[in-house]
Subunit: 209 residues, 2 copies
């Protein structure tokens, strides 16, 4: 349970390389000919493994799309720890910013390929949303940890609100092709609304025309 750092293990190392090879090959093929136009067999051939082996690394064709993203998010979740002296609100805010940094970075890096991919294919979009609820659960757990006596519903609502708000804005920015800077500005605004609620959006309190 305590052997993470500095011990890949020769065997383990190879597995990682294979996993990476599969992911890379798959992404390349998806970008070239499209998602459904690429079969498991194609990927296997490109990664130089047997088709059957694919499933030893990824439970489904869909999951390979998120391989890289998952890795990055895993790193981030390491940083989701508490920092002495902070108020829970600050911790949450910092955590959100961390995750967003990862998202924005990933967006700039792989960008176009996967974004388009995930946005088009319903199956992939669904898978992506699944990832989000996982994140939501993680944040809820963090909240409970930070605020031992927090009312159950408050923790649930707060995490849902935070994730929901961020998700909506990120999706919107990607769909509209925002550049990283604009996206950043938009996200800052979203964080503000998450913290201060819909009442802080003046437009919502003005009587409709």
């Amino acid at each position: 349970m305590d052997e993470e750092r500095a011990r890949p293990g020769l065997r383990e190392r190879k597995k990682q390389r294979t996993r990476q090879a599969i992911a890379t090959a798959a992404l390349r093929l998806f970008a070239e000919r499209g998602y459904e136009e690429t079969t498991i067999a194609d990927i296997a051939a490109a990664a130089d493994i047997a088709p059957r082996t694919f499933f030893g690394y990824f439970p489904s064709k869909e999951d390979v799309v998120f391989a890289e993203i998952d890795d990055r998010l895993a790193e981030v979740s390491e940083r989701l720890r508490r920092t002495p002296g902070e108020t829970p609100m600050e911790t949450i805010r910092r955590s959100i910013v961390d995750v967003l940094n990862a998202v924005v970075a990933e967006h700039a890096e792989y960008g176009a390929i996967q974004v388009a991919l995930v946005l088009e294919r319903p199956a992939l979009r669904a898978r992506a949303l699944q990832r989000l609820t996982d994140a939501q659960d993680a944040i809820e757990a963090l909240l409970r940890d930070l605020c031992p006596g927090i009312p159950e519903i408050d923790a649930v609502a707060a995490s849902g609100i935070a994730v929901g708000g961020m998700q909506a804005v990120v999706a919107h920015c990607r769909r509209e092709g925002y550049d990283p800077v604009s996206m950043r500005t938009a996200l800052d605004r979203a964080v503000h609304v998450v913290e201060h609620g819909l009442v802080s959006v003046e437009a919502l309190s003005r009587p409709s025309p």
Copy 2:
């Protein structure tokens, strides 16, 4: 484009009956033996149609699970209209309450079967989430309509926050088996947090232990 009321049409009527038969049979089988344990062939047999015909009514096995829910949500979206004199904030609040009423009602009625089904199967949960983003888009559109000049990001963030918050609480209540009344109380609390933001959750502002 204007022939909805009072004209089913003999032929059309039969289609609706078949559709209903398929949905009913499918739900029953899912409840009895489980989702993946039920094949399209089984459903077809129970609904007394050819397997191939199933796909003439539903694009996929997953969709049949949401047949009833979709119908209900369609009704609700009819009520998502503005009411003169209300402030946008009030309209949003009322709309959310409307949707929640539908959700709670559906929960009490079909309850156990589908809820368990959707919660267990990853594929179904994903599909359900997809439904949510649709709702989110609808709310965003409503917002834009209500507040002509509202900043793009504000509309996006607000709808994401509202839907995200509600979704989290509803899912939580179902998972924990809340009764309709408790669920209602929880949702009211959630609406409050959505409106006033995370800063309104006292626990979040107290320094962590």
